[in-house]
Symmetry: C2
Subunit: 462 residues, 2 copies
Amino acid sequence: MSLENFFNPRGIAVIGASERKGSVGYVIVEQLKKRFKGYVYPVNPKYNEILGLKCYPSIKNVPDPVDLAVIAVRAELVPQIMEEVGERGIKAVIIISGGFAEIGPEGEKRQEKVAEIAQKYGIRIIGPNCIGILDTRSGVDTFFLPEEKLRRPPQGSISIVSQSGALLSMWVDWMAMKGLGLAKAISYGNKMDVDDVDLIEYLAEDSDTKVILLYIEGLKPDRGQRFVEAIRKAVKNGKPVIVLKGGRTERGFKAAASHTAALASGYEIYRAVFKQSGAIEVDTMEEMFDAAKAFTMVKIPRGRRVLIVTNAGGEGVLATDYCDRLGLEVPVLPQDLVDELRREVPPHVVLSNPIDLTGDTDDERYRIVLEKVLSRGIVDIAIVIAPPHPPAITGKVVDYVAEASKKFDIPILAVVTGGFIAEEFIKKFEEKGIPAYQTPERATKVAAALVQFSEYIKKFSG
Amino acid sequence: MSLENFFNPRGIAVIGASERKGSVGYVIVEQLKKRFKGYVYPVNPKYNEILGLKCYPSIKNVPDPVDLAVIAVRAELVPQIMEEVGERGIKAVIIISGGFAEIGPEGEKRQEKVAEIAQKYGIRIIGPNCIGILDTRSGVDTFFLPEEKLRRPPQGSISIVSQSGALLSMWVDWMAMKGLGLAKAISYGNKMDVDDVDLIEYLAEDSDTKVILLYIEGLKPDRGQRFVEAIRKAVKNGKPVIVLKGGRTERGFKAAASHTAALASGYEIYRAVFKQSGAIEVDTMEEMFDAAKAFTMVKIPRGRRVLIVTNAGGEGVLATDYCDRLGLEVPVLPQDLVDELRREVPPHVVLSNPIDLTGDTDDERYRIVLEKVLSRGIVDIAIVIAPPHPPAITGKVVDYVAEASKKFDIPILAVVTGGFIAEEFIKKFEEKGIPAYQTPERATKVAAALVQFSEYIKKFSG
């Protein structure tokens, strides 16, 4: 069965809906009422109405259409509820409740019971012990924190699958602040049924999703091959899968084991799996979102040759260091190009790669060197370091960079280091479609991710 | 001669002062007039007055007291000016002007000429080809960008020495935005006289400076031993020296060579020198400022044993990974402590290290575990991951963390991931003296820097 019922149900029953402000069963109804495009059916025998919506005593009484049940009741009640859900003919369930495999033998038994019932009725389950789904288009939202605590990001094309619900909620809040657009965010908790593999497979075909982010501590032991295939499918569809692995060191692995009971596979195996499948592994959450932003904004470079343009020598040096370390080429400019450029810029401009326009540069110098170098087809991507501080910089550089990127069909990443004036420049760059970062290191890591993906694409799409 | 005349002159002559708004000679006078505590003497034969200050036709006419000359005229005029400065008895000069060794043979000759004159009169020089000094206490400010382009940070205890003037100005602007306090920022340009070594020696004794940041591309070839000694002196005085090296890879080194004519020493040698001297090397500018912030706020840990407390399992796992990789210990809690804690917290709280308070935690749980664990003396530093999202978190956790840190004399770093509500929490933590960061990776790197410094202190202070 497709997962479509989870993301685009015609109606949702919220079992354990509540009138108590701030409670899980309240916030879910509140959010769904606000944004979900289909029918919302609160279910709780205690109430006749919640937030102005008719409340049903049992799932049995809920009218059609209802494609998804969200269960947020005490763990002990869940098996009974599952029976009723099955009888009612609902095929998709999100179990928010904790108190299952994650708490030990008693919970494990309960989870097995739920699995049996699901099997009997052909029900797919996300959870238990999860925060479920946030879909910015359909409005499915089981993230049970009110907006004062957790802002919802704008619609966008980044989807996230996370083994940690808490991390996922923080990231969603973070994206909202940064203005990064979200398609779907999914926390699968104990993944007793739907897991990372199912979700990647679904997102690989999802037209709203262009970039897939994955936080993972451990795969189910029998899912390695399907995981590889799911990621390859995404890559073939032009969608990067960016992975942050938790539990990479021995001590970290032990911590993961008590967190999500991740199975004991060495990190080296995961690394091999990521590489084999075409996943882009990152080291930190910052890198993950830096790369995600770029993937939604620029085209994939054709190769690994980088042009660096700067007006700050030191930043050019640092960018070169990072490129070199990450295996990106910083090609030397051919002499005839240097000669050609020399006629256009003052003698103290350093015409090497990095090109250092120096502190007395104006916007125009950026335009000239980008035009001349990019037109040669000798680089695949450019990192343009454009702090706004030099007196003659007015801001036209932003347009020049955007125009050059478009004209020559070459992705450009901008670096703008500094205070408020730098933050403004970053915003301006991004309004023009150029991903911008505060430090050369961050931009260079993004460049490396873009290049890595271009190589995966070549490899897997023939 | 001490460098005191550069940082605390009684009077400053600005040679090449100008009435032209936004020009170098204008902005320097403007800034000095606003904040410098001594006398400001504009010098330029073209004007009688600049910004309401009497302008002198020549340095010869400038009255006492004048301890520092700032030269911002065309390079060709500098040798003649230097003669006049020498005759006037001034012993400290900042040469802002470019057009010296950095432009090739002609400039080199000019720089040699200046060196001869300086020698003859016993003048110390910062520069040429630099932005000079920003001292937030005395008000010396030769950073020739107006405040709209470059904000000045508040007074503080971080000093920066940078081989890149552009990087330095961006960092100063960045610090202003972040509210990080600056003591002194110095760009030495071509370092024809005063160099990194002199400046570190000076800052090692400077009572306003608690942390020294250093961006360096290359040392003068004969200064290795003095560099080691200067840093050791700082470390012995309890001041960390945090170094970011530009030109670390082969390609990056070539870029550095065209930027600052850094000499060809392999990076491995620099690494050894940093280690031998007690410098803390960082990989990125973000790490540099993250660590600097912590050093100004917390005490140095006694060892490398880290406690991690979280309410988000995934973040605890990631923090553990980073600790493990950076050589920090995450000790297992003794069983009797676990038993003691178990009586105080609900059964689903994970009483390992990391301690995972889980998503239903309130502020109180943080208080309990910090009190019980820190009182045992089994850890040297704590990383407290406290996202504000859990419904029962009100914000008291901030006070609890600050109180525990004080009571048990153990440095604590906070991690708060998320959007605006997280940023507010970060601010609250820092108001209470707890350095806070958006990601576990950043906090863990800071912890590693603190631990590294504690080991240097032990090593060099006996």
